[in-house]
């Protein structure tokens, strides 16, 4: 089980984009590795998605949990939406029975934000000329089990 949170995941320009009706997607990539002599063996790799939207008319934010879960949570404030989108709890990475004991493992995670959808035409072209997404570096936790 892993938990982590993303800080400063919604800078001002993302907030403006959200309020302009752009759907923003957060992708969390979680990897569990077993370091070897020269390489790191990847034991598990998980992607977690959070999609954030804003309804200007209703004045609410929606957070969807995907890609497999149909769960959508509507909240009144951005802070609530950010909490839902940025705080990842109780993520099952791998069964303990699959991990040999007495070894060192590396759990690492990184986040990527991108524009998921826009109503504008030539979206791909706009992406090329106005790329405002970001990607964090890897954050690692080394542990022994």
């Amino acid at each position: 089980m892993a938990y982590f949170s993303l800080k400063n995941g919604c800078p001002n320009y993302v907030q403006i984009a959200l309020e302009s009706g752009i759907i923003v997607r957060y992708i969390y990539e979680i990897e569990l590795q077993a370091p070897r002599f020269l390489i790191k063996k990847r034991l598990s790799r998980i992607f977690i998605l959070r999609t954030l939207t804003h309804d200007n008319l209703k004045g609410e934010y929606r957070v969807s949990f995907g890609p497999d879960s149909p769960k959508v949570v509507s909240v009144r404030t951005l802070e609530e939406a950010k909490k839902l989108a940025f705080e990842i709890n109780d993520i099952s990475i791998i069964s303990l029975s699959e991990l040999p004991r007495g070894k060192t493992y590396v759990l690492r995670v990184r986040a990527k934000m991108e524009e998921a959808a826009s109503s504008l035409p030539f979206k791909g072209l706009l992406d090329l000329f106005s790329s405002w997404g970001f990607q964090t570096k890897w954050y690692e936790v080394r542990f022994n089990y």
């Binding site: 009706g21 992708i27 008319l57 090329l128």
Partner: protein, 748 residues
């Protein structure tokens, strides 16, 4: 040229196809690589971007290709122009024209489009549009919030009433009570707020076990609302005062407000859910307002990227158009200049004489027709040349035959002993053979091309005119005449044949004169005649002379002493006269006899200088008043001569010379050897009075003498001896005075 062009063109086409295929593969690979590079680790589909990448890559590639092709073609064009290759200048002009034609409107269109784009984007973000959208959004939001607020208030009131009236002491909820509370109409008088009247379309009560305790719905069956998710319900049980949950149905958007139902202890027993169906048309209107507002805000947000992307797209399209137009210009220029170049090269080849080729014509345009016409022309020229060559060959053959005949005739003409002179209709001399020149002692260069009248004396011209008139009257067109002609103080006796030259139409082309020199023949004939006369005279006269002389001597011997003195004197004188005259006659007859009976020459190698010296020694003794001098060239060879006859000839010459110098003088004898002609020359010159010009022609005729007592046979005998030795004799004036006889004998 045909095969070369075909091979070259096919090779070029193949290379172009390979380049095209490689370009397609290259673009695909590049697009894929860029897609993965830009997508990074994302597993999500961004398929819409692939097309964009492909288009951009294609454009980049085309731009690079454009640059390459333009630079390549321009470089090629410049080099071809510098090398002054055929068609380069025309192609340069065409390319410049096409580029200008394409560039100017394209750039103009680009500038106008760019300005139009800026203006259009400015209109998009007009302040009035923004305000209208904001107002619309505010209206929509107010409407929606009014509904929600009204529903919330209704929910609070309904919840309060239910909590007061319908919750039992054991915290159970009385369904009948709720039923009575909401009946008979959705808007019960107890909970109706006239100021915020909204229709209630559903009332649900769900306990903490997510079990429906009460459900009352006033909606069509097809629009039955879905259950509220447990997670949402849980939020109410967890203490949330109110929750809004909306769902879109076919009849419109169902807004549902969730609120807790609490007992007296303020414990949450259940969740009250009140639903209001917002009409579909209104729901659509609100959606449109929201969608338009979002689009506008997004456009505003991406204003600069949109401008940039549109500008770049415009640039790419402009470059694409320029590329296509330049490329088209190159192709068009090539399609025009290539046939022209091909024609020019072909013309050069034709000019250099190469006709064994044909140009390949493609298409059905005017240039193709021109190429076909050129091919036909080349074939015609080739055929004409073949015929010309054939004709030329036949002409050469004919000319060769004619030349052969001409040379043959010329050789005949030059080698015949007869002289031939041809005169055309205008009276100009057109031909004169070597014999004619030799006979007339004149060069043909002085005669040919000149009118004959200028070459004749007045008398000769008159005579020739008479001949011409007689010739014109002659039915056969031929006339033979014996002519005596004075040429350079020499009288020639000619037998001339005049013939009119006529062509196939019997038109006169001129006159040809064929003549023989009979001068020598006449001389020989005359000499022979004289010899015959001399022989007969000698025969007829000599016989009676001896009896006459003997008779006169006998008379003298028998009767001289018997006569008286007077008679004896007469008798003596007469008999002496008879005897002396008889001796003279005898001598004369002997001379005749010698002349008539000149023996044939017996030629033997003779040393001429010794022979001459022997003769001179006799004359030196007999003529002391005359100086005799002999000059002999060194290295004089022996000549085949009859020494007796040469002595006789020399004595005759010396006699004449001595006789001409009664008061003394000088006689020079010069013997020389001409190695070139292999002749030996004997020259005898005196310082006497010389020979008058009028006597020269008859000098060697027998019995012609200006000397008193001369028989006129001496020089005739000399001439005869020289002729017997196959030599010839010449008479010249001795400088300053006297006569010089030159006898020329061949060595062999």
């Amino acid at each position: 040229m045909k095969s070369d062009l075909t091979t070259s063109e096919a090779r070029k086409r193949r290379i172009e196809r390979i380049i095209m295929m490689a370009a397609v593969v290259f673009i695909a690979l590049l697009s894929l690589a860029e897609y993965y590079l830009i997508s990074g680790f994302s597993p999500l589909s961004t398929s819409s971007n692939v097309l964009i990448f492909a288009v951009i890559n294609l454009d980049i590639f085309l731009i690079l290709l454009l640059g390459f092709l333009v630079v390549r073609n321009l470089t090629k064009l410049v080099f071809e122009d510098k090398k002054h290759l055929l068609g380069a200048k025309l192609r340069t002009k065409l390319v410049i024209a096409f580029i200008s034609i394409s560039l100017i409107p394209t750039i103009l269109l680009f500038l106008v489009s760019f300005q139009f784009l800026r203006t259009s984007i400015g209109y998009w973000f007009n302040i009035k549009v923004e305000k209208s959208l904001d107002n619309a959004m505010t209206i929509g939001r107010t409407y929606y919030e009014g509904r929600v607020t009204g529903l919330e208030l209704m929910s609070q009131e309904t919840g309060r009433l239910i909590s007061l009236r319908c919750i039992e002491e054991d915290d159970t909820i009385n369904r009948i009570c709720i039923e009575q509370l909401v009946n008979p109409t959705p808007l019960s008088p107890g909970i109706q707020d006239s100021s915020r009247a909204i229709s209630l379309n559903s009332i649900e009560v769900i306990n903490s076990f997510h079990k429906e305790l009460f459900v009352k719905i006033w909606l069509p069956l097809v629009d039955m609302p879905p259950d509220i998710p447990h997670s949402v319900l849980n939020q109410i049980f967890e203490g949330k005062d109110s929750l809004l949950h909306s769902v879109t149905l076919e009849g419109g958007e169902l807004i549902r407000i969730l609120s807790p139902l609490k007992n007296a202890n303020n414990d949450i027993l259940a969740v009250l859910i009140l639903g209001h169906l917002m009409p579909q048309d209104m729901s659509y209107l609100l959606d449109d307002i929201r969608s338009g507002y979002d689009d506008y805000r997004q456009l505003q947000l991406f204003q600069n990227p949109i401008k940039g992307s549109l500008l770049i797209t415009l640039c790419l399209i402009t470059l694409l158009i320029i590329f296509v137009s330049i490329w088209f210009g190159f192709r068009l220029a090539k399609s025009i200049t290539e046939p022209v170049k091909m024609l020019a090269e072909a013309t050069n080849r034709v000019a250099m004489g190469d006709l064994d080729f044909s140009l390949e014509s493609q298409g059905k345009d005017e240039l193709s027709s021109l190429v076909q016409a050129f091919n036909i022309m080349t074939q015609d020229i080739k055929e004409a040349r073949r015929r010309t060559e054939e004709t030329s060959r036949q002409l050469r053959k004919s000319y060769g035959e004619l030349e052969h005949r001409r040379r043959y005739i010329e050789i005949i003409l030059q080698n015949v002993t007869a002289g031939v002179i041809s005169i055309d209709r205008q009276g100009f001399v057109t031909l004169m053979n070597k014999s004619a020149a030799s006979i007339l002692n004149i060069s043909s260069d002085q005669i040919i091309g000149r009118p004959y009248s200028q070459l004749l004396t007045r008398d000769q011209a008159k005579e020739f005119e008479e001949i011409r008139q007689e010739l014109s009257r002659s039915p056969k067109g031929t006339l033979q005449r014996s002519i005596r002609m004075e040429i350079r103080e020499k009288t020639l006796s000619l037998l001339a044949s005049f013939t009119i030259l006529r062509d196939q139409d019997e038109r006169s082309l001129g006159v040809v004169i064929v003549f023989d020199d009979l001068t020598e023949l006449e001389k020989i004939q005359r000499l022979a005649a004289w010899r015959e006369v001399a022989r007969r005279i000698a025969h007829e006269v000599k016989n009676p002379l001896t009896p006459i002389q003997l008779s006169a001597q006998r008379l003298r011997k028998k009767y001289l002493d018997k006569l008286d003195n007077e008679t004896r004197v007469v008798f003596d004188k007469c008999t002496n006269t008879i005897i002396s005259q008889t001796k003279e006659l005898k001598h004369l007859v002997d001379e005749f006899s010698n002349f008539a009976r000149l023996p044939s020459a017996r030629l033997r190698p003779t040393k001429l200088d010794d022979l001459v010296d022997d003769v001179l020694s006799i004359y030196r003794a007999g003529h002391p008043k005359i100086e005799f001098k002999l000059d002999v060239q060194e290295g004089l060879p022996n000549a085949l001569l009859d020494s007796d006859q040469i002595k006789r000839a020399l004595i005759n010459l010396l006699d004449n010379a001595v006789a001409s110098m009664t008061d003394g003088g000088k006689i020079n004898i010069l013997i020389t050897y001409n190695t070139a002609e292999n002749e030996i020359s004997l020259s005898v010159s005196d310082t006497g009075p010389g020979i008058s010009p009028e006597d020269l022609p008859r000098l060697f005729e027998p019995y012609f003498s200006r000397r008193r007592g001369g028989t006129g046979l001496g020089l005739a005998i000399v001439n005869s001896i020289v002729a017997d030795h196959n030599g010839h004799i010449m008479v010249k004036d001795n400088i300053p005075n006297g006569t010089r006889f030159i006898l020329i004998f061949p060595i062999n």
